[in-house]
C-alpha cells in the first residue's frame, strides 16, 4: 500500500516555477540510505550532471554589450536538461555483507532518474538485496532570477540569487548564488561590426536539502566560460536577435548523508565530478520595447533547453 506524501512543493505555484522538477531532497536521502560508496555515486550521477548543466545554462541572450552607460536587465530563467536511457540505470556492486550469486550480475539498477521499481538481486544461502527505485524523471528543470548590470568599457556583471528556507518540509533549504561577467569583443571591431561578439565567465554555487547531521545534503559548484555571438535583426523597439555560444563547462556536486546499508548509521561523503564538456548553444531572443522573451538549446554532454523572459532598461 502506498503512503501519500503531499510534497510541500505545492506551496505556491510561483515557488514551483523556481523549484521545478526537483524531487523532495528528503526522499532522495531516504533512497540513498540503502547505499554506500560506489552504488550511491551510480545512483546520483545523472542528477549531479543535470545540476551542473543547468547551472551553466541561460547565462546570456545577446552578445551586444554597450561600451559605456548604465543598463539593467532582470529576467527569470528556466533551464531544463533531458535524461537519456543511459541515465536511467547503472551497474551496481554488492553492499557490505551481501554476497550475490553472480557478482557481475548486479546490472540495470535504477538511478535517481530511473524506474520507480526496486530491483531484487539474489544472493547466496537464500539471501537477497533490494536496490531502491528512482523517481522516473524525463527531465530536470531549474528556475532562477537573474540580474545583469553594465556597462563599463564594454563589460557587464551578472548576478543570480535565490534562497528559500522550507526546512519544515521534505525539500529542506535551498540557496543559489551565481556571479559572472561578460566583455564585448565587437567593440574593438569598428563602428559597424558584422555581428556582436563577447566573452563571458559565470560561477555558481548551489545548496539543497538538509541531512541528518544538519548540513547540506547536496552542494554543487559550476563554472562556464566561453565566447558568444549574436546579430540584431530589426530596428527600433522591436527586433529579433539570434545568438550562439561556445563554452567550456565544469561542475561538481558534493553529497553528505547517513547510510544504513550496513545496519548501523554510517556517514557517507560523495564527491561527484561531472566530466568537463564543451557546449554549443543556439538560441533566439525577441525584444519588444523593454520586454524580452528568449529560448535556446544547448548541445553538450547532457543537452538542454532554456527559456526565459525579462525586462531591460
Amino acid at each position: 500500500m502506498a503512503r501519500p506524501v503531499r510534497l510541500s512543493a505545492r506551496l505556491g505555484c510561483l515557488v514551483a516555477v523556481l523549484l521545478v522538477a526537483l524531487p523532495a531532497a528528503g526522499q532522495i536521502q531516504d533512497q540513498l540510505a540503502a547505499y554506500t560508496g560506489a552504488n550511491a555515486e551510480g545512483y546520483l550521477q545523472p542528477l549531479a550532471d543535470a545540476v551542473g548543466t543547468s547551472l551553466n545554462s541561460g547565462v546570456f541572450r545577446s552578445a551586444y554589450i554597450p561600451q559605456e552607460g548604465f543598463h539593467f536587465k532582470f529576467s527569470m530563467e528556466v533551464m531544463s536538461v533531458f535524461f537519456s536511457e543511459d541515465d536511467e540505470t547503472f551497474d551496481g556492486v554488492a553492499e557490505e555483507g551481501f554476497q550475490p550469486l553472480d557478482p557481475d550480475g548486479i546490472i540495470d539498477i535504477p538511478t535517481v532518474v530511473g524506474s520507480t521499481g526496486s530491483v531484487i538481486v539474489e544472493g547466496i544461502g537464500g539471501t537477497s538485496y533490494a536496490f531502491p527505485g528512482g523517481f522516473d524523471l524525463n527531465s530536470f528543470s531549474f528556475g532562477v532570477p537573474q540580474i545583469t548590470i553594465g556597462s563599463v568599457k564594454g563589460t557587464e556583471m551578472i548576478f543570480r540569487y535565490f534562497a528559500l528556507d522550507i526546512s519544515d518540509t521534505e525539500l529542506g533549504n535551498f540557496s543559489l548564488i551565481g556571479l559572472g561577467a561578460r566583455h564585448s569583443i565587437s567593440q574593438y571591431m569598428g563602428d559597424d561590426p558584422p555581428l556582436d561578439l563577447a566573452v563571458g565567465l559565470m560561477w555558481h554555487t548551489f545548496k539543497l536539502g538538509e541531512n541528518d547531521e544538519g548540513s547540506e545534503l547536496i552542494a554543487a559548484n559550476a563554472l562556464t566560460f566561453g565566447i558568444q555571438a549574436s546579430k540584431r535583426l530589426g530596428e527600433g523597439l522591436i527586433y529579433f536577435e539570434p545568438y550562439a555560444g561556445l563554452s567550456y563547462d565544469t561542475s561538481s556536486v558534493d553529497v553528505e548523508y547517513q547510510s544504513e546499508a550496513t545496519g548501523d548509521p554510517l556517514d557517507i561523503s560523495l564527491d561527484l565530478e561531472s566530466d568537463p564538456t564543451a557546449r554549443l548553444t543556439l538560441g533566439g531572443s525577441l525584444n519588444i520595447g523593454v520586454w524580452n522573451l528568449h529560448t535556446e538549446y544547448a548541445f553538450a554532454g547532457q543537452s538542454g533547453f532554456t527559456f526565459g523572459t525579462g525586462i531591460a532598461f
Partner: protein, 210 residues
Amino acid sequence: MRKTLTAVLLLALGCALLAGTGCLLEEKVIEIVLSQATCVEFQEREDNESFTNPETLDYADRIDEILDDNDLVRADIDSMVVSSITYEVTYFPPPQGAHDDWELTGEVWIKRNDAVVDSAVIVDLTTQSILDALDTPTPADLNAAGVAILNDAINDYISGMNPVLVFRLDTTTGDVDPDPSPADSLIFDWKACIKLQLVSELELETFEIF
C-alpha cells in the same frame, strides 16, 4: 514608467499562467528500501566442549519496532528480504588456561516457536576463532535451509502472523579447541544480527516541465 509597469505585470502574468497550468505536478509511486538489522544476543558459560544454548527472538515484535521507528506499519510493507547475517563476539575475558583463544566448530540452528516447522541449520561455524570475532562483525557462512525459515517467517509476518524464532549455538556435533573444563571455562558473549531490507511504496509528486 508606464512601459515599466506594463512589462512587470506581463512578466508576473506569464509566470502565473505557466505555473497555473495544473502546476505540471505528476503523482508517482516510488519503491523505497529501508535497511535495518535485528540482533539476538547469547551468553556462553561452558565447562565442556558440547553445549547448546537456545535464545528466543520475538521476530514480529522486533520488526514492529523497526517499523514504528520509521513511521511505518505492517500494512505498508510490500516485501522484506534478508540481505545478510553477521555474528560478533561482544565480550571475551582472557581464558584461565595457558592459551589466549578458543576455536569453535559447530552450527547455529533456527526453529519457529509459533509454528510447526522443522528446525534447520542457518549458520555453519568452522574453526571460528573467538578472538578474531571480538568486536568484529563477521559475515556468516549461511545455510539455505535455515535462511528459508527466516524468509518464511517474514512472509508470515507480512500476512499477519507473529513469528517467534529460536536460535541455538550447537557444538555437540562439532568441536571446541582447547576443551573447556571447570578449571578453564569457555566464557564469551556474542550476537547474531540479521540484516533486513523492507520495501515499501511512497506516493510522491514531482514537478516536470517536460
